[in-house]
Symmetry: C2
């Protein structure tokens, strides 16, 4: 039987929480690369909260995924057939192929990966979009100064874990917020945060629990979640606090508008809030490339992967991601990674 | 009868809207300047929305006014007795004497005024705190670029009128929001804004009226009011819009928290919101002093004063200010201005 392109298509738009019926797994013929193109097989697929926005009708940062189309997503692949001189058979590439087992590309926006420099999957986590998101938002919007307190929500996740570790490198007190004892233990004991508040165990007591972890108030709040965590954090911001607004995962499934904090608190404390998306800034990361890869190699910046096997498992894994069920960067292993034991 | 110091004291803290009973007008003995001090008579008292915050129990930018104390406020005065070599009898001074007819000062933070350079009262309006507020917030947070659309609420007021005129100087489309036909006519015909939306006439239709005035969306929203105007503006912000958060006059009298916009809108459009207060930045205004006084002198920047006579009228005038009853910069003439016809 000829090899097929296995794809996860958006069958219907989620109304609120996505459900398995919103997705359809289907085979298509393997695409053929044209002149100047190559065909790759997907090894790793990154699952990220922003994808929820692409499944909606409403305008987001970017065009949404059409019904019947494969869902978008960052991937690592290997070239298996090439009509592009820059990409040879066997090359590893960081791509944006989406939820499918194979893809054709003309190479635009594609980065070649050296598996000796770093594990291939890190191009989707600590050295990829989530890592750069954490870096850019913290350094350019958060502007942490030594001795300040940096709070980050979803602290054990791909972005949050990096935010806190970079905050520590910059001489700050790093306080995480995460769901469950295991995640909080990991954040403090493995990643070296100063404290971590378990928002599930402390539900109803979140304000006080955060205050106890931030005795000098909060200078930077790296926002990944919104909702009850946000409501407990904002009143504890110090004068001149900065809020890199990276994500609002708690409200991605909400259909209604979701009121934000009273702006009087932002006014009185002269707070800065700035929404951002890292793809606007991919060209502005010289310090990221200088500082982060060596720190990862030296084990000073740690990361954790939560790996799901097989493309067919992607819908369930993604539904779980929006509920905080993953522990570390959520990746789908779509096919064999020959560089990994 | 010896001259007395007439003062307006905070008798009780307003619960919601201030009422006349919250204020008490009372005479006190004229204070005597000590060594290094001078005594001035107040000529002009500025009434500004921020004063509402100082009347509350809740923490604001600064310490609040104590019960039985004169309310704070910027003033222009004339020295009538001096034991400070730097201030001579007859000198005009920009001070922060508050709601009283006389005050003693050691000169700290006081600016000498030259009535030949500009009318004394402008030190409280276009060349004073409101003018600098408009300038700093627009230029440093708003960062307007030629061709962009700048929207400002409370557009006929001391701050708003300056924001729109500076936006025009910088090559932007300037759109005001104000209450009533007279104010809107003034904003367009006198101040030269491109359009002005009457939020009273357009109540219920505000979103569409603003859209009609801003066909290319909104790049800078200079926020003075909050409430329904804010709710209509925020969804019309363009990608990368900037929101200098200067005031929220519609909610100053509210006792409850007042939910703000859904942060998803700020995230998707990568909006920047920054609360500020001009007194943090008084030292950072070289361009203001270079550009604004000549433009005012040349009549390129216009201003309008709404003058109330006599200190006793201050409480009613202030109550009206919070309801938008003033038209132009609200000033109390406490005593004779010898430089004015």
């Amino acid at each position: 039987m000829a090899e097929m392109n296995r794809r996860v298509l958006l069958k219907s738009r989620p109304q609120g929480e996505p459900v398995p019926a919103n997705f359809e797994v289907a085979n298509a013929p393997l695409p053929e690369p044209g002149e100047g193109e190559y065909l790759s097989r997907t090894i790793w697929l990154s699952l990220d909260p922003y994808m929820r926005g692409r499944m909606s009708e409403a305008k987001g940062y970017a065009a949404n995924t059409g019904l019947g189309e494969p869902i978008v997503g960052g991937t690592v692949g290997q070239v298996i057939k090439s009509r592009n001189a820059k990409f040879k058979e066997g090359d590893f590439v960081g791509e944006y192929s989406g939820w499918q087992s194979h893809a054709v590309s003309n190479g635009a926006g594609v980065m070649k990966l050296d598996p000796k420099a770093a594990p291939l999957s890190t191009a989707l986590s600590v050295l990829g979009m989530p890592g750069m998101t954490a870096w850019w938002g913290l350094m350019h919007i958060g502007q942490p100064k030594p001795g300040e307190t940096v709070v980050v929500s979803a602290a054990s996740g791909a972005v949050g874990s990096m935010v806190g570790q970079v905050a520590k490198m910059k001489g700050c007190r790093a306080v995480g917020i995460a769901g469950g004892k295991d995640k909080c233990d990991y954040v403090v004991k493995e990643l070296g945060f100063d404290a971590c508040v378990d928002y599930k165990a402390e539900a109803g007591n979140l304000f006080k629990a955060i205050r106890a972890a931030c005795p000098k108030g909060i200078d930077v709040y790296f926002e990944n979640v919104g909702g009850a965590v946000q409501a407990a954090v904002i009143p504890q911001l110090n004068d001149f606090a900065r809020v890199p607004l990276c994500g609002l995962i708690s409200s991605y499934n909400e259909m209604q508008m979701n009121p934000g904090p009273d702006w009087r608190m932002l006014l009185i404390k002269r707070v800065l809030v700035k929404g951002f998306i890292v793809s606007d800034h991919f060209g502005q990361m010289p310090e990221f490339w200088q500082e982060v890869p060596p720190a990862v190699k030296a084990g000073k910046i740690k990361y954790r992967e939560d790996i799901v096997k097989g493309l067919d498992a992607a819908p369930e894994a993604f539904i779980g991601l929006l509920k905080g069920r993953n522990f570390g960067k959520l990746l789908v292993q779509v096919s064999d990674d020959p560089t990994r034991n």
